[in-house]
Symmetry: C2
Subunit: 372 residues, 2 copies
């Protein structure tokens, strides 16, 4: 029996995690649920999974559970004796819990790429206790099992190319929020769906892969693969490649991370290649999707740049989602913030948090000019 | 420094093995070369690699090397203190050396599927010391590293489909030897090239996989993949698949078997997926390629059937290569031999050799009727 803490339990990753717990009640026990605030969904989850602890940002009173809350609650949470912490928190809100859990050497299952990226410069030595559940990084993790790290020639992250792969560049400025939220292959949260449409998601994943697998950027490539069947590839020096394939279903990498080194049947749809018939591959188009390049460059620079990139993108995506800016203005804003930003190389969590709040100020200044 | 014995050194697998030795003279030392008879190629190889031993079927006198020969020499060979024995002998001629080497618990690198199949019923418990270099089985070996054996849902062997995948069935009886020897993707010996054209090769590989990986036939599938880029796939119970990819180049699986657990750069062409653009998959056509089905059924029956199948096919292919029979008569002959053959379940090498010679007689009877 493995005990679990599910952070962001009402979100996309959280609910899919609980779906797996539902299938394996004899193997998994939820000991903690965490969400930003109390909600009908959270209350239902508490009723169903009967956790010992519930974390919320503000104090709440729920019968039968111990409520951890606020900053202090987060610290208490990170010290709990729980086998696996699943971090399904979206965006930079996940940084602090990620930091605390890694500091406590907890086994952390996470798709929170923003946290992995922002903490990469200061906490990389703890990253071996991270089990990634981004489908691409889960794929790379699995493929790396087929050889020695030193024999890796490069890794290849696949990208669906998002909904606008075939749209002419001229039409990009008219892209609506609804169009951008309509991802052809993956059902995900809003932020990551927009990031997939701009290919920023893949840029962030390149940086994430750099920190997670301790590989130089020269060894991390991206290929567009609209079918979203191959999720990641490791190429070895002998010319051999190992790839991970499945239908796009986030439950597969989540279940793998939880069940590892076992694999459990989660009734995922089995892949039949002659039904699929074709797998296709394209070179990324940096003109249509400048953020992929911008992200890689920020990654290569290291220091404070990955954090600034992450924050600027999250804020720009929010502005787009609110209808304040055009789709094509997302990369423009991110690039402007990166140009202006200038900080000391971060050494501590405080440094990272400082870079985040300062970047938010820089962003605010720039967006005000854009909106006026 | 690893010491090697190269059996069938003048053949396709043998020469490619020596090509790898040439690239890594500091890591590999050829201690023995074996060929059926002395030839210019063998003499050149002896001069270049300076082995301590040379095996030939008949006694020969070569300056500076110890000649092992005949039955007795084969036994001496199997007892030599050499790290890796590479068996590049084609067809059923490889059975005896395979048997002797496995009995001596030698590390055996082999693509000799006929030997693996014929000895499967009597020597399977020794098969863990076999390292397969058929590209498909090497692929499966690698993919199996990403999970526990008990979590395997099935394995999938890919088949190029050979040169006649798109040829209409009506034209099959006019297929010439030259056409059948013109494999679109792989450069191989004649026997295996014809087997690839009939898809018998894939049928034999299914049986080989059954014995090598100890998997029931229900868990071994075949998919037609004309690009010959994916060589094998393992599907796990969680819906995840691991695949092995490379350009078709036998040196890759040979080098992998030799260098394992390392991987060495052998200057193989690196795979670029957006240059490849497309990977396609089809269901096998059992009407055009009945031998795939015949082979699977013989495999499922077990006992003497896999041996009879192997011998009948080798003989039928020889008749086709000599221009005695049509392409479409190969499966007819094999099926007829399988119908007539009836033996005790083999227990010993003698039983296997008896089945082989008796099957040869059965075949001779049948072919005489066909040719008259």
């Amino acid at each position: 029996m493995k005990t679990l803490a599910v952070l962001g339990s009402t979100g996309s990753i959280g609910t899919q995690t609980l779906d797996i717990v539902r299938k394996y009640p004899d193997k998994l026990k939820v000991k903690l649920l965490a969400a930003s605030k109390i909600s009908k969904t959270l209350l239902k989850q508490i009723e169903e999974f009967k956790p010992e602890y519930v974390y919320t940002v503000e104090k709440v009173d729920i019968k039968g559970v111990r409520n951890l809350y606020g900053e202090e609650g987060l610290i208490q949470l990170s010290k709990l004796d729980i086998d696996l912490f699943i971090n399904g928190i979206a965006g930079i809100a996940g940084i602090k819990p990620t930091y605390l859990l890694l500091k406590e050497n907890k086994k952390l299952i996470t798709a929170n790429k923003e946290a992995i990226i922002c903490l990469g410069e200061i906490l990389k030595e703890k990253y071996s206790s991270i089990f990634p559940i981004d489908s691409e990084h889960s794929a790379i993790f699995q493929c790396l099992l087929t050889g020695r790290k030193k024999d890796v020639e490069r890794i290849v992250l696949t990208a669906s190319g998002g909904p606008f792969r075939e749209k002419p560049l001229e039409e990009f400025e008219h892209i609506t929020v609804e169009e951008a939220l309509n991802h052809p292959k993956w059902k995900m949260g809003k932020k990551v769906t927009i990031d997939s449409a701009t290919l920023m998601n893949k840029g962030l994943e390149v940086i994430e892969a750099h920190y997670l697998f301790d590989l130089p950027y020269e060894k991390i490539d991206v290929v567009i693969h609209p079918d979203s069947i191959i999720h990641g590839i490791v190429e070895f020096v002998d010319g051999s490649m190992t790839a991970n394939l499945s239908y796009p279903d986030m439950r597969i990498p989540i279940a793998y991370a939880i069940s590892y080194p076992e694999r459990w049947d989660i009734e995922a749809k089995k892949l039949c290649l002659w039904e699929i018939k074709n797998l296709s591959f394209y070179k990324p188009d940096y003109k249509k999707f400048p953020l992929l390049k911008i992200a890689k460059e920020a990654g290569k620079k290291g220091s404070f740049y990955p954090t600034v990139l992450t924050v600027a993108d999250e804020l720009a995506v929010n502005e787009f989602l609110k209808g304040h800016i055009k789709f094509t203005e997302i990369p423009v804003l991110v690039e402007k913030v990166l140009e202006v930003a200038n900080f000391q190389k971060p050494q501590t969590l405080e440094d990272i948090m400082f870079i985040i709040t300062e970047t938010e100020k820089v962003f605010k200044d720039i967006i005000l000019k854009v909106l006026n």
